[in-house]
């Protein structure tokens, strides 16, 4: 469970997140949705401590994370995994070395044991016979899956995904979404997913937070999302005509 209380973030005097209060439950896929530039990435990075919040509290279960010192933060970081928008695989390392990296850095296991774990994770995300390829040799969908394998290598309790299916075709995108949801349930992780993809909202939106220009505007689940009276949210959801036709035939 991750709780955010009155979070505020400024960049050079410009307020990007205003007074956000929200909680994310474990074992569920929590979605943060909003238009590009609305502050989704900044929100997730502020929660994970990659940005220092200017005000407010970030709780990881019963630890007040953003007030910890560097070393205590590091301990909690080991329980977090993150999937970045561009995958952020290390260019100079192979697929296998990428997934092994957190194990090399934070465990004292032998090579054999580590390789076993690497192969387990790669198998889990359905990557086979690619151990010795470099990230530049992978397709977008494969990169995402390798990045997921790296994120779960240390069995994290918290998983952050920044636009996990941006730039992917619809079928691959749904596969990635499903994979994240399965892993979330399997390991009972607290997962936060940033997205502006309506398919994800409908497929895996167990808990949805809508933000617009740095304000939290709406919160609910995938069943409620089609029937809200939040105007900004409706504008976002029914932006394309297909959504208008299929999801809410009355709202033309």
């Amino acid at each position: 469970m991750i709780k955010v209380i009155n979070l505020e973030k400024n960049f050079n005097g410009k307020c990007v997140l205003h007074d956000i209060t929200v909680s994310f439950e474990s074992g569920k896929t929590n979605l943060v949705i909003g238009r590009s530039g609305s502050g989704k990435t900044v929100l997730v990075k502020s929660i994970a401590g990659l940005h220092e919040p200017d005000k407010g509290e970030v709780w990881f279960d019963d630890v007040l994370f953003n007030k910890l010192d560097f070393n205590s933060k590091k301990e909690i970081r080991k329980e977090m995994g993150m999937l970045f928008q561009g995958s952020a695989l290390f260019d100079s390392l192979t697929v296998e070395q990428n997934v092994r990296f957190p194990l090399d850095m934070f465990t004292d296991k032998g090579l054999e044991e580590k390789t076993e774990r690497v192969n387990f994770c790669l198998n889990r995300v359905d990557i086979k016979n690619a151990n010795h390829l470099y990230p530049s040799e992978l397709s977008g969908g494969m990169k995402k899956r390798v990045a997921i394998a790296r994120a779960i290598a240390l069995n994290p309790k918290y998983l952050f995904c920044d636009e996990p299916n941006s730039g992917l075709d619809p079928i691959t995108a749904i596969m990635i979404d499903d994979l994240i949801r399965e892993l979330t349930e399997e390991y009972s992780m607290t997962t936060i997913i940033n997205t502006h993809d309506m398919n994800s909202v409908i497929e895996i939106g167990e808990n949805i937070v809508f933000i617009s220009e740095g304000y939290k505007c709406w919160e609910g689940n995938k069943h409620e999302v089609l029937h809200s009276d939040c105007e900004l949210l409706n504008e976002f959801i029914f932006a394309n005509s297909m959504a208008r036709h299929l999801l809410a035939p009355g709202k033309q």
């Binding site: 970081r77 977090m80 993150m82 957190p102 850095m105």
Partner: protein
Amino acid sequence: MFRFLSQTGKYFILLKKVFSKPEKPSVYLKQTLFELYNLGFNSVGIVTIISFFMGAVIVLQTAYNTENPIYPTYLIGLTCRDMMLLEFSSTVTGLILAGKVGSSIASEIGTMRVTEQIDALEMMGVNSASYLILPKIVATLLFNPILTLLSIIVGILGGWLAGTTAGVITSEDFIYGIQYAFIPYYLTYALIKTLIFAFIITSISASQGYNVDGGSLEVGRASTKAVVFSSVLILLFNVILTQTLLS
């Protein structure tokens, strides 16, 4: 002025982060070995070529500008040795490495910044500054003195070859010249300069890359700035060090 102060501030904050305790020495050792090869060994070629031709041209220039019977030819050898030792193999090699090594460090780290690879490291709880930069600093501090020694030797060889081939000096005179009035302290001086220049090149370029904000355009800009800033600092410190070490 404000920009300058904020850049300097960022540089020292980064240095502090770089020199905090490494989380896993074995991983750092492996990285350092890699950087010794990547940043050090890979520069052997360019340093050899440039030193060879610089040594050659020093000898020819000295010879043609001192075509005076009073001026004993062995002094050509001595000039070649001292030019290599005092200025060329530390300062000029430093400037060339600022171009080669500096731009590659800045663009490598800058690319990692804009593609969120640095965020990924931080996210795992790795001290990204230390992990990425410390091995490079250690590697260049270890290897650049070797490059400087190599440059001195190759430069003198180049001078000897050019001088004897062009017939401006005999082999015996040249060899006598390079041994004449040799001051061992000059070598120490060259090595001290090399160490300081190596630190300037690596840390300045790394900091330019690490603090990139934006996209690939900014990475390009950072790599240019890395070369310009480290070159200017090398020239500045060359003056300061010459004054303090030789006066």
